[in-house]
């Protein structure tokens, strides 16, 4: 075991998979010579060569489409979106081509699209979004949102080995801020399994990505007041580990769904619906959503701080919910 950053863990996962399987290769803007906008693939070009680390034109639809074509022919491409926000430029390719190919004509599309997502880095409206929902809503795609170095490595490896198109949203705020123990051995985390990030009895917070850390900070503070929060880290939004969500709600009877994406029709709405449909009898209080408000992610620090859910948004909501 060694302590790696979240970024190093993803990098190690990619590296090991490329060593293990010759059909795995990388495509994206500035990933070779330059090593990627976040330097995640620095050194890959020298080690694996230009056939397997492909610097592409500024052309999301083309390189995602190219990845789809290569995947149909049996390769395992990994696409890097320079920022997850730009994934909209390849929406047709992902949603109309990749997602439907297996269902329509039985063509497997084993590809991964990595996208640095999320705010908190003053990236402004085009370098900060959390565009998971349209992809979670699309049958045929899998959507991963890791929060820890251990999970990030195990999940990227699982994504690469998966037979379907997988969208892997890496939270860029976590890249160098989060460090954790990561085994040097080969391991994968099965897609569709949530983890219990903190065990508690009073309230369940169901969350993912960077918000897991916000929930844990809030939980640590509330524990001083003998309020025990359970934090469920979904890790994967599609397929969703409904079982883990309901198990926690059954235990605590109070639930907050927390995400960094905008509120309306965000993933929290789906979670609330699942809990209301299948866990209504467990509930002692209404389901609470904590999300970003319905506006683009702003640039200026006071505005961005006001936009992002933080520790105090959670502690305030927890106290209110306990009084219900």
């Amino acid at each position: 075991m060694s302590a790696l950053t979240y970024l190093e863990a993803i990098r190690q996962g990619l590296w090991e998979e490329m060593e293990r399987d010759n059909s795995v290769f990388l495509l994206g803007e500035d990933i070779g010579e330059y090593g990627g906008a976040f330097k995640l693939t620095a050194g890959f070009l020298d080690h694996f060569g230009a056939d397997r680390v492909v610097d592409t034109p500024l052309s999301e639809a083309a390189f995602v489409g190219a990845a789809i074509g290569a995947a149909i022919m049996g390769l395992r491409p990994i696409v890097e979106m320079q920022f997850a926000d730009f994934i909209s430029c390849a929406y047709d390719q992902i949603v109309n081509y990749a997602a439907k190919a297996r269902y329509r004509w039985g063509a497997a599309v084993p590809m991964v699209i990595r996208g640095p997502s999320g705010g908190g880095v003053h990236g402004g409206p085009f370098h900060s979004t959390n565009p998971e929902v349209p992809f979670v809503h699309t049958p045929g795609l899998k959507v991963i949102v890791p929060s820890t170095p251990y999970d990030a490595k195990g999940l990227i490896k699982a994504a690469i080995r998966d037979p379907d198109p997988v969208i892997f949203f890496e939270h860029k705020l976590l890249y160098r801020r989060i460090r954790g123990e990561v085994p040097e051995s080969d391991y994968v985390i099965p897609l569709g399994t949530a983890s219990v990030a903190r065990v508690g009895r009073d309230i369940s917070i169901i969350t993912y990505g960077a918000m897991v850390h916000v929930a844990l900070e809030a939980a640590a503070q509330l524990a001083l007041e003998d309020i025990e929060i359970e934090v469920i880290d979904l890790r994967c939004l599609s397929p969703l580990d409904t079982h883990a969500v309901l198990n926690s709600v059954r235990k605590t009877n109070r639930v907050i769904v927390l995400h960094e994406d905008n509120r309306t029709a965000g993933f929290g709405g789906e979670l609330a619906a699942v809990i209301a449909e299948k866990g209504f009898d467990y509930l002692a209080a209404p389901i609470v959503r904590i999300t970003a408000p319905d506006c683009p992610v702003p640039y200026s620090p006071p505005l961005e701080r006001a936009f992002l859910p933080d520790k105090s948004s959670v502690t305030i909501a927890v106290r209110r919910l306990l009084q219900y």
């Binding site: 190219a66 022919m73 049996g74 491409p77 390719q93 297996r102 329509r104 004509w105």
Partner: protein, 334 residues
């Protein structure tokens, strides 16, 4: 242009098969047996047939909706095509999609999608896989002139040109994209003019001359196999009918339609093979008889194919979690 009797026979057979099969498919549509869209390539048969005829088994084709001849040449059987249109389980999509929205990896046919040009970047990826594995295979990628206005088309041609990928782009310029005439589609005169933006060599051919299409494709395939990169072939043609079987195409001036009727690619090639004594008059009659039987058999056999079982609705959405999904789904049926 030299063509052997055997090649002439094959070209004629597939052009006529495409025409007759699509004629019958339109009948099935009018009879209410085909319930979805029908988009035929009447008048454009020389393009898909004259090009796909040159592919080797390892080559991949990405045909569009007026390229049935290419599917047939790659070995997708007529009755399977009819089953696809009828929504039966023996179509390549097992009833999950209709008309020529189909692919078959066994036949190295990669499906197009309805957002035109959507398959063009995918074709680049297929070609990239050939380069990756150092294989001497090529991709034939088809589209109409309308698709060349899409961003995906431009991105894909640029991508293929940058990496010198073995793709042959074949544009069936039939001058109308649904009701939109080419003058409203592009300010350049020819689709081929767009190639220069990507340093892709282009050729303009008479798309109603099967031998001209074949010759241009042969040159482009040879370039691709020599790793000299993509070529764009613009085949000038005309859509002899509506966009779909439900479109009367009243917006097309009649005199233009009549002028193009004189250039029918099948009638022209028939005349050519008779003149050159490549196929006899009796040979032509035999082809027509054979195709009549093939089409009858295709419909008969396809109509015997069952409809898909509704219980299979969720099968094949993804490769690992179909069962997990259905167990978790809380859809409208619960």
């Amino acid at each position: 242009m030299r063509v052997s009797p055997k090649s002439a026979y094959k070209l004629l057979y597939f052009m006529k098969l495409m025409r007759q099969l699509e004629n019958r498919i339109e009948v099935l549509y009018r009879q209410g047996k085909i319930v979805g869209g029908v988009y035929v390539g009447r008048g454009q048969e020389a393009i898909s047939v004259g090009s796909a005829i040159l592919t080797k088994p390892g080559d991949v084709i990405c045909p569009s909706h007026r390229d049935l001849g290419a599917f047939l040449i790659r070995g997708i059987e007529p009755w399977v095509v009819v089953a696809q249109y009828l929504g039966r389980i023996d179509g390549p999509t097992r009833g999950r999609d209709g008309n020529t929205h189909m692919g078959s990896l066994k036949h190295n046919v990669v499906s197009y999608i309805s957002s035109m040009a959507g398959v063009v970047p995918v074709a680049s990826g297929v070609a990239l896989s050939f380069k990756y594995r150092h294989e001497s295979r090529v991709v034939l990628c088809y589209f109409g002139e309308g698709a060349t206005s899409r961003g995906e088309w431009h991105e894909a041609l640029n991508f293929s040109a940058v990496f010198k990928l073995p793709v042959v782009y074949i544009c069936g310029n039939n001058q109308y994209a649904y009701s939109t005439p080419i003058t409203r589609q592009m300010a350049v005169e020819h689709v081929a003019d767009r190639g220069s933006a990507y340093a892709i060599p282009t050729t303009i051919v008479d798309g109603n001359d099967v031998l001209a299409v074949r010759e241009a494709t042969g040159i482009a395939i040879a370039r691709a196999r020599r790793q000299q990169g993509p070529t764009l072939i613009e085949c000038k043609t005309f859509r002899m009918g509506g966009h779909s079987a439900s479109d009367a195409a009243d917006y097309v001036p009649k005199h233009i339609l009549h002028a193009w009727q004189q250039k029918d690619p099948i009638a022209r090639f028939e005349k050519f093979v008779l003149q050159k004594r490549l196929v006899s008059q009796k040979g032509l009659t035999d082809i027509d008889d054979l195709i009549g039987r093939v089409v009858d058999d295709a419909v008969r056999r396809a109509e015997k194919s069952p409809f898909p079982d509704p219980s299979t609705l969720l099968e094949g959405v993804d490769g690992t979690t179909a069962k997990v999904r259905s167990a978790h789904s809380s859809g409208a049926h619960e």
